[in-house]
Amino acid sequence: MLRLFLVLNARLALRSGRILLSVAGIALGVALGFAVHLINRAAADEFALAVRSVAGEADFEVRAGRAGFAESLYAVLSRLPGIAVASPVVEIEAAVDGGRGALKVLGLDSLRAAQVQTRLFADDPQRIFALLEPDAVLLSAQAAAAFSLGEGDRLALVVGLERVELRVAGVLPAETVRGRIALADIATAQWRLGRLGTLNRIDLRLAPGSDPAAMRARVEALLPSGAYVTRVETREEQGAKLSRAYRVNLSVLAMVALFTGGFLVFSAQALETARRRGEHGLLRVLGLTRGGVARLVLVEAAAIGVLGSAVGLALGYALASLALRTAGADLGAGMFRGVSAELRFPWLAGAVFFVVGVAIALAGALLPALDAARAAPARALRSGDDQRMFERLVSVWPGFALLAGGGLLTLPGPVQGIPLFGYAAIALILLGGILLMPRAAIAAFAWAGMPRSVPLGLALAQLRGAPGQAMVSLASIVASFALMVAMAIMVSSFRQSVDTWLNAVLPADYYFRTSHAGETVYVDAAFEARVRALPQVERLELQRSERLTLDPARPTVWLVARDMAGGGVNGGAKGGDPLLPVVGERYARKPGDPPPVWISEAMADLYGYAPGRRIELPLGGAPRAFVVEAVLRDYARQHGAVFIERAEYVRLTGDERANDGALWLRPGASTAELAAALRALPGGAQLDMADPGEIRKVSLSVFDRSFAVTYLLEAVAVLVGLFGLSSSLGAIVLARKREFGMLRHIGMTRGQIGAMLAAEGGLLAGFGAFAGLAVGWAIGLVLIHVVNRQSFNWSMELHLPWGLLAALSAVLVTLAVHTAWLSGREAMGMGPVRAVREDW
């Protein structure tokens, strides 16, 4: 037995390179999956903590958008029997002067808040009174750090286009409140941030013994239009929903990496068991059972899995902490502004990923193990019998069935906003494609005519005659290449669509905005008049944006009120759309219809709105009727936007302020002159200005940044796949030493054999690239029309990056040729006689 052990050990040492590769594959998969999980968790935890730390122990919150509601509602709710405490709040995302971003100002009545948000004041009751002083704010530790402010410093905010200075009365301990928060007295916030007479949040604590459901109904009955009752838990979920689709996408990418790792194990073990048929036969003869042989293979795979998982967990943790430090919890996607995450090692999740890594390694080795066990010892001891594994895989029906199933799975809608069926469809299409490969390859190579070149002919003959070994390589090529192609097609389609969209939505010569930071900055009617009076300005179109909550369980949607070129809603057919590309058909307005709104695709998907549908929006404190005129493509606002004409908005709300402006130059004027003139206006320095070119550039760089992780994961998956390809090709070649000896004997030169191997590799990779392109194209379509649409509610046009695909294919084929040729040189290192005699 000891001897047997030594033999096995020796084999193991020979194979250490390939084992290392398998370990690396599993490790990468586990690392990516674990890192994505860690980052997600850190982000979600941090978001929940941030929500919770400012929400306190309220049973309910009454909330409304920026416009809020009259403060008298607070007195009404406060007197309601069954309400123990009502705490009035003004919550505003305020711009910090100097373009330094925004922080959330919580205007509280500290005397009331102390009974609801006890943790804000429990450790230091003096804060209750410190907050009452004029202009006092208490900063969260994160806000103090982000804006480099300390006690006694001035916090300069921008309201309208004016600077408002508040006094930092203290910095809260880090554990008291999370996120970039400034606490202020409610009177200070109302006055200094221009919110006199209004509130937008009331925290309610119920008296002991009152029935929450009944109280909720009673409170809801008292609310004006646009205000709603919510719970802290709902808000936490809403926060998680904001980025869930994005996070699920990342997790799926990590799963792809893990899958590739499993595939690597499969290809390595398949080749290994094929090469070790003799060894296994010998063991069987020596008394090892079939199960014993299978276990031997599986134990080896498990060892690979354990090693890979362990390395993967460590790597994943390191990766996650690096990512969190450098890119933030949202990995550059801009979803958790002002929230900084903290990383802990979650033992349970770690254990799960460990087990998954081992399981995938075992699953990868399952087929080879069964195959090794099934072989009859006597036959296995003879050489030349190593092609049986794929015999059962040549039937085309399973492959076609999987493809058809994948096609069907593209039809259902998302599950809770997650395109589960879409992901399943991708998995089926990929698997189906791989299963069809052996048969397709055999057919393709059979169909090809016999070329005159001897090496090429031999290569083709080899692939036709003994396809089994090559099929492992082919499958790994197709799997990784198809995924790579699909991602490339999706990203390029998306980017191209965004680019086209940007061109369409930026027709003016120059733009300014105030909405880049917080809700407090705006231009008023006086400023508007000043801009219109500038000699450089031919035309000015303004836009006012506001968040609406149509469904408290969902993220808020944007209401965008826009000046429209056509001069109005009631101006007939050419009313003018809000500058965004219309998708689908347009509703022809009839006499008597309410005013029109345009909706983004997300609204159509999430709320089921369609052209012609009458909807109600809470505007100016009352529900207003509108009719949907058309659906627009809007890449800027993921969770939905409703566009209305600004004149209509002003009529309904009396709000003449605006956030963004588009300017057309008078002939002869330059944008530089215009920019200088705007900046010279009172308050003009607070505007963020840019020409369309800059906006495009910035937008596309934001796009690229948010796909950075996707690119990275994709690159890793491809790398793993290519490793797999080269290792399996190399193994095939090494397994054929005897054959090369024979060929040398019958007169072929080393060069010819090298050329033959290179041709084999090239043919294989070429076919693989072709098949990968086909499968990848199909998966790309699913990504674009199902996964992306259902995750982000954005449609896009298919755009094939031919150049990139051609280059990728060329790299693939070159690599295969090169690997095959190099392995051939190594295999032919020994003399032909020894090579022929080597028969194990």
Partner: protein, 378 residues
């Protein structure tokens, strides 16, 4: 007289001088952009010789810095349980003002405190409220006594003070009938509180009121009756810096008279200032100066929670009279660190006359002991 909670709370509001040091901007010309304009408040001073007129002076005096209505008393249930109760409404005017037109601008603040001493429980039940007079949810009216925070109220209607308190674990609704004219302390209601001129308050009491009502404890309700005392005091000065705390008693005497005495204890351990008033049954009132009042501890109780020792039994001397003060129960300590940052003792006490002079032989009232846990810092 029980200024402690109020003062401790107020101490957190920066004084005008301190506020400037912390960066509240000095008054500026209107129109200066950026920071808002904060003004220092000029509080009226307490001057002897100002005649108190009623019912006007029963109402709030919002110009003064601090003011409180402080009702205490003994209650007896139908089962002959003795209970002590206390309900206080404080009004304070913060030392700054701005042009802020917000309904929430904190130009006045109200704090309320209620406690129930129950020998059966062995410790106090207590709760508090704080609010600003915004949107009518809290307020202190001028003209006559009417103060409220949400559903906690105290109001003088006819000759009866009515108070209603719904707190955590207890609630009460009491009617206190004032039978006599207000008892003015000091010089016509201007009571000296320290050695400096201006360390004084306007101060009168409504002693020996017959009280009736309901008390609810943990869901069980009792009809109660007893004797109550109400203080109304307003001032613009804080405690003298030399003082560490004070002892105070207010006793409704069995013969219908009343006894009030206080001393400010210096940080050096000596008495910094003292005073008192004794009203006899026939309405004769005598005031006592600092030299005539003494508080002599007879028995100390040590708090098992924080180790603070309080002289819960005392001998109090006013002139030649000597009174023995004994608590309803020893543990009437209040931990209000969470709201006002301090711990003190305030509870129902019995008084009995020790000397053989003419007049009342005893009574029931309240004792307040502050600054024993730590000196009050203002």
């Amino acid at each position: 007289m029980s200024r402690r909670r109020f003062l401790a709370a107020l101490g957190a509001l920066a004084l005008p001088g301190a506020a400037r040091a912390q960066g509240i901007p000095a008054p500026r010309a209107p129109g200066a952009s950026g920071a808002s304009v904060a003004r220092e408040i000029a509080y009226p001073a307490v001057r002897p010789g100002v005649r108190l007129t009623f019912p006007r002076d029963h109402g709030a005096h919002p110009a003064f810095r601090t003011e409180w209505w402080y009702a205490t008393g003994w209650l007896r249930t139908a089962r002959n349980e003795d209970l002590g109760f206390q309900v206080t409404f404080f009004r304070t005017r913060p030392p700054f003002d701005t042009d802020n037109p917000s309904a929430f601008a904190p130009r006045q603040l109200l704090l309320a405190h209620a406690a129930l001493a129950d020998a059966g429980l062995g410790r106090l039940r207590h709760d508090q409220r704080a609010a600003r007079p915004a949107l009518g949810l809290a307020g202190a009216e001028a003209g006559n006594t009417r103060v409220w925070i949400d559903d906690w109220t105290l109001a003088l209607e006819g000759g009866t003070y009515r108070t209603r308190v719904a707190a955590r674990g207890f609630s009460f609704e009491l009617a206190m009938q004032a039978q006599r004219a207000p008892l003015l302390h000091g010089e016509g209601g201007a009571s000296r509180k320290g050695r400096r001129a201006g360390e004084a308050s306007h101060y009168y009491s409504r002693p020996a009121m017959a009280v009736q009502g309901r008390v609810e404890r943990g869901g069980a309700e009792d009809t109660v009756s007893g004797v109550a005392w109400l203080d109304h005091e307003w001032s613009s000065t804080l405690m003298a810096p030399e003082a560490a705390g004070w002892d105070w008693i207010g006793v409704s005497l069995d013969d219908g008279g009343a006894l009030m005495a206080f001393r400010m204890r210096g940080k050096d351990g000596t008495d910094y200032y003292a005073g008192g008033t004794w009203m006899q049954a026939d309405g004769r009132v005598r005031g006592y100066g600092p030299q005539e009042v003494a508080f002599l501890p007879q028995r100390r109780w040590r708090s098992p929670r924080n180790g603070t020792e309080y002289p819960v039994a005392l001998e109090v001397r006013l002139g030649e009279t000597r009174w023995r003060i004994e608590p309803l129960m020893d543990d009437q300590e209040l931990d209000s660190r969470a709201s006002t940052g301090t711990i003190y003792w305030e509870g129902a006490v019995r008084a009995s006359r020790l000397d053989a002079g003419e007049g009342a032989r005893g009574g029931r009232g309240y004792l307040e002991l502050t600054g024993y846990w730590r000196p009050l810092t203002l």
